[in-house]
Symmetry: C2
Subunit: 554 residues, 2 copies
Amino acid sequence: MPQQKKLALASIKSMYRVFTVPEAPDSTLSQIDKNISRNLAGFLQDHIVAVEKDLSEVEKDFADPKIPDKPIFVSEQTQFLLDKVVAQSVHTASPSFVGHMTSALPYFMLPLSKIMIALNQNLVKTETSKAFTPLERQVMGMLHRLVYEQDNDFYHRWMHDAYHALGSMASGGTVANITALWAARNLAFPPEGNFKGINQQGFFKALRYYGYEGAAIVVSKRGHYSLSKTADLLGIGRENIIAIDTDDNNRIQLDQLRKKCIELQNKKIKIISIVGIAGTTETGNVDPLDELAEIAREFKAHFHVDAAWGGPTLFSRQNKHLLKGIEKADSVTLDAHKQLYVPMGAGLVLFKDPTKLNSIEHHAQYIIRKGSKDLGSTTLEGSRPGMAMLVHSGLKIIGREGYEILINQGIEKARAFANIIEQNELFELITKPELNILTYRYCPNWAQIALLQASPDEMERINTHLNRITKFIQKTQRELGKAFVSRTCLEPLRYQAVPCVVFRVVLANPLTTIEILEEILSEQAELAKHPKIASEVAAFEKLCSHHSTQTKAC
Amino acid sequence: MPQQKKLALASIKSMYRVFTVPEAPDSTLSQIDKNISRNLAGFLQDHIVAVEKDLSEVEKDFADPKIPDKPIFVSEQTQFLLDKVVAQSVHTASPSFVGHMTSALPYFMLPLSKIMIALNQNLVKTETSKAFTPLERQVMGMLHRLVYEQDNDFYHRWMHDAYHALGSMASGGTVANITALWAARNLAFPPEGNFKGINQQGFFKALRYYGYEGAAIVVSKRGHYSLSKTADLLGIGRENIIAIDTDDNNRIQLDQLRKKCIELQNKKIKIISIVGIAGTTETGNVDPLDELAEIAREFKAHFHVDAAWGGPTLFSRQNKHLLKGIEKADSVTLDAHKQLYVPMGAGLVLFKDPTKLNSIEHHAQYIIRKGSKDLGSTTLEGSRPGMAMLVHSGLKIIGREGYEILINQGIEKARAFANIIEQNELFELITKPELNILTYRYCPNWAQIALLQASPDEMERINTHLNRITKFIQKTQRELGKAFVSRTCLEPLRYQAVPCVVFRVVLANPLTTIEILEEILSEQAELAKHPKIASEVAAFEKLCSHHSTQTKAC
C-alpha cells in the first residue's frame, strides 16, 4: 500500500475513534467527569480562579481565527479549557455571587443533563423525540395548572391534543416573550373578509385593512429589554413600546396607563398587548395584575405577564398572593433556568386559552404536518433539545413543597438583608424586596438627609459622586473575586427621579447565608475607603458638609 | 421543639441536600452517569426499546397535570425516566437511523457538555460568562474565516471589537435565519431624514416613508419552512415569501427568479433579501450561489445563504467548489448541531460585513451596555448557554482535516447508495445526491416506464398508489425499529410535477456502512410484500399492466 493511502486510512480510522471509543478512564477528561459527579462545588472552587483577569488579557488566548488543519488531542483541548476557560469563567454557583439570576444547580441536574445530551433528541417533531413530546406536553400542563388552576377535564382535553398546545417551550424568557407577543400581534389582526391575516399578508396590509395608524405594546418602564427587541423584531418598532411610569415600588401607575391607552386609541393606534411584570428584572417588583387584566379587557388588548423571574412564587402558599391576577393573563412567560433551577437554556410561555397559539401555527411537507403532535408547529425555534426532561425532573424531585421552601427562604433572606442594610449607616436601601431582589447603594445616613435638603442642582452633583463611588465598589469587589453583586441604574421618586447607580442583589441561591451577605456588606464598606476613590468621597463629603452640619445640629 | 417545626426543618434540610450532596456513587443515577461515559453506544442500545409503541400509549405515562406536593426520590425519577422516556426515545445515534439530520456524537462531547452545564454560564453578558465571551467570539471568527477567508488583519481588527460582532450564536438554524433576515429587513429600511428606521418606527411607517407597497423575500420553493415563519414573525407576511420554481436538480431557476424580481420591483415591492440554499433540507442540493449573488446585487437585496446543512462542506478541499459563491453572501446560516457534530441547540449566523449586525443592536441599563463586549446586544435570544465551548472543541479536536474526512465520506456513501438504488429494480432514485442527502421511492423499473407512457390522469392514479406504498413502507419500517429513513413529498419535473412521496436518506453518521444501507433497502423490499399493502400493490400493478405489457414487448 502506498504511503499516502496508508496515512489517509489512518486519519479515517482516528476519526472513527472519536465516535466509537470512549475516553480512557484515566484521561484528564474522564477524571473531570468523575470529579464533577463526586464533588461539583469542589471542582468549581478548585478550578475557577477568584481574582479577575482583565478581559483584554483573557482575549489573548482566543485570538487565532484559524481552524487547525490537524486534529489535536482531547487531553490537550481539555487542559486548554481548564486553564483558559474554566479558570476564567464566572462562579455562578457560588453562594457569595448574588448579582445574577443564575444560581447553584441541584446535583441531580448534572447526570440527568448527561442523559439528555446522550439521547440528543430534537423536539421539533415526534420522529426525533418520541416520548419527549408527551413529556414536554405534560410539563406545559403542569405549569399551566400552576398558573391557571383549571380542572382535570381541561387538561385531559387539551394537554395532548394534536391540534393545540398549552404553551411553547423556548431557549429562554426572551424567546418566550417574543412568542407571546407574536401571537398577540397576530390575534390583533386576524383574517377577516378579503384580508387573510397579518401572518399571511404582513403588517402594512394589516394596518391598512383595519384602518389603524400604528400599533403599540404598553408596559411599565421597568419592563425587560426583551420587549423592545420584540417590538423591533415584530415590525412594531421600538418607539411603540410605550413605557409607563412606575410608583416608588416600581409598579406601573394605573392612572397613567389608562390615560395613555385612551390617547393611543384616539390616535388610532392598536394596543396589541398590555404587559404586566411579575418580578421586575432589576427590583423584583410585581405590577397590580388584577387591575391590569381589567384595563387590558377594557381596551381589548392581549394581557401578557412576564413572570420569567417571579412565576415560581406561585409554589409558595404564603407568598402566591403577591401574584394575584396572574391567572387572568392571556399568556405568561416563565424561565425554568431561573427559579426552577434547571441549567441554562429553558424558558416557556403558557397560554390560558389553548386555541390562541394557533395564531402562529406553521407546517411543512416533511415535518410538523397538520394533525401531527409535533411540537415544532407552535414554537419560534425549530430544532430544540429535550430540556423539558430537566424541568420535569425538577418538578418531581423538588416537588411543590421543595420549591415553596426555596421561594420562601429567598424572600425571607431578602427581607433580613434589607433590615441589615437599613441599620448600616453607610448604605441606603433603594428598593425594598417584594420578592427576593433588593437594591441599595453607598450613601451614608447623614448624606441621605443632606440630599433631601439639597437644591435640585446640588442633589445632582452629590449624586454624581455617589454613583461613581457605588460603581467603583461594585467593579472592584467583582475583580477581587470573593463576592459579586450586580449594578443597575434606577430613578427613585424620593430623589426626583435623578439617576442613581445601585447594587442589585438576587437571593435565589439556597446556599447564600445571612453571614455571607454581612461579609459582602463589610467588604463594600472597606472598599469605600479605597485610596482610588478617596478624592471622590472627599468631594462628595465636602458638598454635603453644609447640610450635614445642619443635620448633626438637629 | 414542636413536631411541626421539626418537620419543617427536616424539609428544609432535605432541600439543601439536593444542592450540596452529590448522588451516591452506587445510586442508579451515578451508575448511568458512569455507564454513559464508559459505553454510550451500549447504553443507548440497551435502554432504547427498538419496537415502537403507539404515541397514544406513551402519552398515558404523561397524563397527570399535577405537580406532586411531596418531593420524590431521585432514584424513583431516574427509574421512571429510564423506563418511560429513555426506552421510548429515538435512537438518533444509531447507524441505521438515516432519516434525520441528527446523528451520532463524538464521545468527547459528553464529558465536555457536563463541564459546560456544571459551569452554567450565561452568554448574554461577560459578567456571567467571562472567558466564554472571547471564546464565542473566536468561534465566530474561525467560522467566518472558513466562509469568507479574510486575512489576519481583518480578524485582528473585528473579532473582539466591543462595538461589532462577526455573527450571532443561536439555539439553532431557525433563529439564525430569523436573525439574518431581521438584520436584512432593518438594513432595507434604515433611518433617513425624519424617518428613524424600521427598528424604531415599525413596518407601517417604513413602507410609507420609502413609498413601497410591500416587502418580500425571494427563495426557491425548496427553502426551509423557517423562512415562512420568519416572514410571519418579522411582519412581512407569509405570502411575501416568494417561492421560485426549481430545476430537476432542485436548484432555483435563475430566469424565473429574475423575472419575478422585476415584477416585484414594478409593483413597488421592496425585495428585502434573496436567499440561496446550500444544502436543501429535503434533497441536499445547492443553489447557483455565484449567480444569485449577482442578481441580489442587481436588485439591491441582501443576499443570505442558508447553509445550515451544507456549510461544513467547505472543510473539504475536493467538495468545497460545490458551494462556490457562498463567500459573496451578506450573511450565512450554519448549524453546529448538524454537521459540526455538536449536541442539539447550536446554530449561528455570520455576517460578511461586521458593521451590519448593528442594525439589530439593543442595549439596557444593567447589561449589554453600549461599548461593553456583551454578546447579548446582537443576539435574538437573551440568556444562552455556553454551547460555543463545544463548537470550539469540535473545531480543535476534529480539526479541518477531520471534518473533511467526515464530509467526504458522507458524500461518497450517498453516491454509492444512489448507485445501489439505481441498480435495484424495485426502487427509483428521485434525487441524485449532490451532497450527502438523497431521495428515492418504491417504484419498480417497469412501472417507471409505464408512468412515462401514461396519460396525465393515469399517471396521477398510479402515483397515488405508489405514494401510499412508499408511505406504508416508511412508517412500518420505523415502527419495527431496526432502521429509519424519513419521508417527504417532492414534485419531480420528469413526472410533470405530480406530488411524489419519497424516502429521504441523510448520510452524516460516520458509523453508517454500505452494508447497513443495503439491509435497509432489503427490509423495504420485504415490506412491499406486506399483506397490509397487498391490495394497494395489486391495484397499482393492474393500472400499470397495460403499459408494462407494451414495455415487456419492447
